[in-house]
Amino acid sequence: MKRATLYTTLLAAAIAAQPGLAAAGLADYELAGKVTGELRYFSQDAQFSDQSQTTNLSISVEPELYWEWNNGDDSLTFTPFLRLDQHDDERSHGDIRELSWLHVSDDWELRAGLRKVFWGVTEFQHLVDVINQTDGVEDIDGEDKLGQAMINLSLVKDWGIVDLYLLPGFRERTFPGADGRLRSGLVVDTDAAQYESGAREKHLDTAIRWSHSVDVLDVGLYWFHGTNRDPILTPQLNSNGDTVLVPLYEQMDQLGVDIQATVDSWLWKFEAIHRDTVRNDYLAAQAGVEYTFYGLQDSAADLGVLVEYGWDERGTRGGQNQNDLFLGGRFTLNDAQSSELLAGISHDLDHDSTSVLVEASRRVGDNWKISLDGRFFQSDTAVDPSYALRQDDHLQLSVERYF
């Protein structure tokens, strides 16, 4: 939380330096957010020593504070995040998801501070999404991200939106600790992280992205230069004589493209990257289609069906989704409680391993939401990354209170 103090101080200074702000008296202020209680139940005993638990309780809080002035042309958003976990000290953690100032002008916007940026169109893998580091202790789906320091100038043109990014201050990926489940066999020693760049985590990364919508097409194209968010994990002996995984963060140049065609009830999706690092130079892609059946049997319910395929030029030596097929269904009742059921299967065609995800959720009253998720893993090949999860089948009950 030392980092938090630094940013808060910087921010206070930035606010004080804004002459318009004092006059406006921070009139428009808003507080929102949620508190989540989460209970996990693992149906099998743990695979690795130290992973004692079969049930795990966790609570998280994520408030969002928002101020605006100059008729909304300037605004400030502060979103701290804190999680307490019953067993895993690494999962008990805090982060500043957002602490950023936004200035809006006629055809440009300047966004500065800690922020989150999402790029991409596919559902089962977010290949082109590279700005933010994954908050890996949160969940295994990689959708939780750490706030990234940035200065982002966004230009709105007739021919699309151009975003320019300066990204100072790299964030290391978080990994479950020895006590945590849903981890690799060896524990990642995040204190021993290594960097290719001499500047280490202070390397200034840059990115430029163009995105545009033309008729049925939504297209994005970008170039990223800087620290690879995906570390290379290498087993090493630590000072206690234990074997741990040491993360190495390389430099990379990456070209990425994402395209979606929206035609009638069909969404055609394609993402691809070309990543160039010292050790590797490769292509990877994720492509698929989503079709929605509206008003099933003359009811209000919809069923969306998804098929995606993931490919990585490096094959089994490389990424996790090198030759993987994904099938999914999203069943929404469209009722007053927003009840929905999501199911997904991913199958690795090389390793013949499968994981299944089921998520059911609905709103209760005005401010509560309840979800029951199930995840099931099947893997028989020791070299398959998901082999480490094969005894981590679990049910997760989440209760969210919004305020």
Binding site: E30, A32, K34, Y66, E68, G72, S75, L102, V104, D106, D107, E109, K116, V117, F118, G120, V121, E143, S154, V156, I161, S211, S213, D218, Q260, T262, D264, S265, W266, L267, T292, Y294, G295, D298, A300, D302, N334, D335, A336, Q337, S338, R363, D366, N367, K369, E400, Y402, F403
Partner: protein, 265 residues
């Protein structure tokens, strides 16, 4: 057949020329279209608009649930309008925004912003008949009225709350519409839609919409303060309560793009 049709045509032409009454008489279809065109014409030129909307959803047992949204719209004269919708309540959807470029003909362009992931998602707009936020209003009920979206038939004049109403039947052109037809009550004095009856795909009466508390803005544009939709088949109902209508606030095309979608509050 040709020998019969030719003299028949000649006869008809002669009859039409000699009978001015027949020339002026319009068919029920033409009259229905003319009334709808007049209603549309009377409301053109609003430019841009902002408003707040509260929805009260009631189930059969009378249990209520509340939705709150805010809308910004831009009139596009040669096509459908552009709109940006911000969701405030229920709290779990707070921060979700919706951008729509509607088109008089063809599919609308629609994007959703999901604040938890900071993700902008282009969504299929085929879903006309689905319920909006679990309410009794479907997406098509809330979309802007364009002449090209229906064909028309004038039925009759009928006494209504504000004097006399035209009763016009509207047949959706879109095959994805949830309705076979709508019956619309339009008052003859101001051309306001006071009541709409919706008939489902099996042509049974599904819903009735009543709009009340009409107020005039900019000395021209009538907007209802309150709209009540009753579903006769389920017994559920939804009230729309409008507030803070503002016209010509200076919104422009640049206020409706993916950047504004992401930051709208």
């Amino acid at each position: 057949m040709t020998s019969f049709t030719k003299p028949l045509n000649t006869l008809l032409a002669a009859a039409l020329l000699t009978s001015p009454v027949l020339v002026l008489a319009e068919t029920a279809e033409e009259k229905g279209l003319a009334i709808s065109k007049e209603a549309k014409a009377r409301d053109t030129g609003w430019g841009d608009m902002q408003a707040e909307m509260k929805m009260v959803l009631r189930n059969k047992q009378g249990q209520e649930s509340i939705r709150e949204i805010r809308m910004k719209s831009l009139e596009v004269l040669d096509d459908g309008d552009k709109s940006l919708t911000m969701f405030d309540r229920p709290r779990d959807v707070k921060g979700t925004n919706f951008l729509s470029f509607s088109h008089a003909v063809g599919a609308d362009d629609q994007w959703l912003y999901l604040p938890a992931l900071k993700r902008v998602k282009r969504i299929a707009s085929r879903n006309k008949s689905g319920p909006f936020m679990g309410s009794e209003f479907s997406y098509e009920d809330l979309s802007s009225f364009e002449i090209e979206k229906y064909s028309y038939k004038y039925l009759r004049d009928e006494a209504c709350n504000s004097g006399t109403c035209f009763v016009v039947e509207q047949y959706p052109a879109d095959k994805n519409s949830g309705y076979t037809r709508r019956q619309v009550w339009i008052d003859q004095a101001e051309y306001r839609m006071l009541k709409v009856e919706f008939y489902d795909r099996k042509n049974s009466l599904l819903k009735t919409l009543s709009s009340t508390g009409y107020q005039q803005y900019l000395g021209k544009h009538w907007r209802a303060d309150s709209q009540n939709m009753v579903n006769h088949q389920t017994g559920k109902s939804t009230d729309l309560i409008w507030a803070n209508y503002q016209f010509q606030t200076g919104l422009k095309d640049k206020d409706f793009n993916k950047n504004t979608l992401k930051r709208a509050r």
